[in-house]
């Protein structure tokens, strides 16, 4: 936990430095029409850096504590996070409907070890229901890819 606490605090402090840098560019003082654009973010970042320093100091004084993530926990987290990231990448290129079908099918096969019939049923059902509810009933469009273009949407 200590390492994770220290790392997070350091990352946030680095972010704070970036914010201060950009605020100085915008001006942190007073202009003819009131405080300049950088005024508010500048002071936020100053307090952020100070608070993160305090958190790092607190964490440094504590013992190592229990680990942030055990090896046994890491595996299920990654087996969820990585396919989800893959799903987002796919959505970018082939649209949400096809990507969600592939994602659900992949996850059900890999983790759930289902037979092909339930996999095909559920992974096709979800995008179809989403399409009917969002695209046709409520007129909210979703990202689409080549398949939808081929079907004429």
């Amino acid at each position: 936990m200590r390492t994770a606490d220290l790392t997070t605090a350091l990352v946030l402090m680095a972010g704070g430095v970036l914010v201060i840098w950009d605020s100085l560019r915008l001006g942190i003082g007073w202009s003819s029409d009131g405080p300049q654009s950088g005024f508010f973010p500048f002071w936020l970042a100053v307090v952020l850096i100070a608070s993160c320093a305090a958190i790092a100091w607190q964490a440094g004084r504590r013992g190592r504590g229990r680990p942030f993530l055990t090896r046994a926990q890491l595996k299920p987290v990654l087996t969820t996070l990585l396919p989800s990231a893959g799903f987002v990448v796919l959505t970018q290129f082939i649209g949400l409907y096809v990507a969600s079908a592939l994602f659900m099918g992949f996850y059900m096969r890999w983790i759930g070890r289902y037979g092909w019939i339930p996999i095909v049923l559920i992974s096709v059902l979800f995008p179809v229901v989403t399409f009917v509810v969002f695209e046709t009933w409520f007129l909210v469009p979703m990202p689409k890819g080549p398949l939808e273009a081929w079907l004429g949407y």
Binding site: T8, G34, S37, P41, L44, L81, S100, Y107, F134, M142
Partner: protein, 508 residues
């Protein structure tokens, strides 16, 4: 204030299609409340795009009904599965789950739903009475008063939120900094974009809510392994009736918890501490405190009454001041702006049908809600028996749909994933997420209020203390900020005297 306003509201809430909307909202809300990773805030956020084409009156009824449903759904998972769906349901598991293990699940569920209903009803009656008064006072507020209220909002997370106060402060600051990103509407300058065009639009808090609470929560729950184990419960009219006959005995617990809930709830982050506090009080004042934790029905009544009273009270500052008291209220506020309404005290004069329709729907929504959950518990509990390997990708995909729909923009799905990882890490390191979301929502408002106050005073922060109303609020806010520093001394001074043990995990 007049009865004709409330009647006008009921005229809207009781229209058949609005009743249908309420039933739909409660059904979806309960499902959302039962599902891991989906709760009130992100459930409302995901379904927000569906309301874009609706009339605002029906849209707000849909969202509040979702909220009631999610509150009810949280009780089901706490009692039958020992999984608190929401942070304020944690205290319900203490006695609810043991009751279910002893075969008294039906009794526990009936008690929980009835208490929720009583708590919500109590809070809604107080909202009906106080909302118009508060709105009238708020009409006289200027920028210093609004900034002072914002200070109070965030100071109460630090002073009363529990947990590590510095981490609460960091969460608030991150929210405000993220809110700064993009176009500064006052000066027209681009801030924190570093020349990247995608960053120009800034970060939408709805996407942040979906990522932080949805994806983050999924990652946390898979950590514990990939399955749920629950207790079956029978619930039938006989069990309900027998439980109802015993409940009036606990009228003291009901009244006390409802007051605690309302009092804590209209301040931000109140529902979770309210539920723990009222559990602790119920135990302390009970005739047989040794039964608590082993299946005492009062142990279910107390936290549920308080949590729902608090959850309802959180809507009071949202409708009267335009300042939300919880992440869910914040999402609703975002909805108001998208539907073209200006949140704040003027709403009572400009859109009385909207405000009173909303208030009346709190009554109808809770009546419909308690009837529906009592009738369909087995159906809702069955949702958690859907295998994890289907639920997990389903929830991730639903989150992506909701994130994209807010602005029809692909980058929001990427932000959702990013916020998911941040939410997971922050949750593990005990950084509270609710203040981050509220700061992200209120960022622009707070900054403008501060700017205008400073312009009024030509750069002096003392203006916050020189006007009577903002002065009082600012002093209280400063006191809350200082509370974590002063508290150890107060405790030392009181040492020796018995005090009520209250543990308050933050968030909520």
């Amino acid at each position: 204030m007049g009865w004709e306003n409330l009647l006008l509201g009921f005229g809207i809430a009781l229209q058949p299609h609005n009743l249908a909307v309420a039933v739909l909202g409660i059904t979806l809300g309960t499902i959302i409340g039962v599902l891991p990773g989906l709760g009130g805030a992100n459930g409302v956020a995901i379904l927000l795009p569906l309301t874009f084409s609706m009339h605002p009156n029906s849209a707000i009824i849909l969202l509040t009904s979702l909220y009631w449903g999610a509150l009810f759904g949280g009780a089901i998972t706490s009692i039958l599965f020992n999984i608190p769906g929401e942070p304020w349901s944690v205290a319900t598991t203490f006695d609810g789950y043991p009751m279910a293990r002893q075969g008294r699940g039906g009794e526990a569920l009936t008690a929980a739903f009835t208490s929720s209903f009583v708590g919500a009803l109590f809070a809604v009656i107080l909202i009906t009475l106080f909302a118009p008064l508060l709105a009238e006072i708020a009409l006289k507020f200027g920028p210093p008063e609004f900034f002072a209220i914002q200070l109070l909002t965030f100071s109460s997370f630090i002073g009363l939120g529990g947990g590590n106060p510095i981490k609460s402060l960091v969460s608030i600051l991150i929210g405000f900094i993220l809110a700064c990103a993009g176009l500064d509407i006052v000066t027209g300058q681009l801030r924190l974009t570093f020349g990247i065009t995608e960053l120009m639009k800034g970060f939408d808090f709805i996407v942040a809510v979906i990522g932080l609470f949805g994806i983050g929560e999924i990652l946390l729950s898979v950590e514990e392994g990939l399955s749920f184990r629950g207790v079956h419960a029978r619930i039938n009219p006989k069990v309900v009736w027998q439980t109802w006959k015993t409940l009036p005995r606990y009228y003291r617990t009901f009244i006390r918890s409802a007051f605690i809930g309302f009092w804590m709830g209209f301040k931000p982050g109140g529902a979770t501490p309210a539920s723990f506090m009222s559990y602790a009080f119920a135990k302390r004042f009970s005739r047989n405190p040794e039964r608590f934790g082993k299946g005492a029905i009062e142990g279910v009544v107390a936290p549920e009454t308080a949590a729902h009273a608090a959850g309802s009270a959180a809507l009071l500052p949202m409708i009267t001041l335009g300042i939300p008291g919880s992440p869910t209220a914040a999402v609703m506020l975002g909805g108001l702006i998208i539907w073209g309404l200006q949140p704040g005290p003027m709403l009572f004069q400009e859109k009385p049908d909207f405000v009173w329709g909303l208030i009346a729907s709190m009554y109808t929504g809770n009546v419909i809600g308690v009837a529906m959950v009592l009738a369909f518990v087995p159906f809702f509990a069955a949702i958690l028996r859907i295998p994890f390997s289907i639920l997990t990708p389903l929830i991730v995909a639903v989150c992506a749909v909701g994130s994209y729909a807010v602005h029809d923009s692909m980058i929001d799905i990427w932000y959702m994933l990013l916020f998911g990882v941040i939410g997971y890490v922050f949750k593990k390191l005990d950084y509270p997420l609710a203040p981050l979301v509220l700061a992200l929502v209120l960022g622009d408002l707070a900054e403008n209020a501060l700017r205008q106050s400073l312009i009024m005073s030509q750069g002096s922060l003392l203006i916050l203390f020189q006007r009577p109303i903002s002065g009082v609020i600012s002093v209280v806010a400063l006191l809350f900020f200082a509370l974590p520093v002063i508290n150890p001394y107060i405790r030392r001074a009181r040492a020796g005297k018995p005090t009520v043990e209250v543990s308050t995990p933050h968030d909520g």
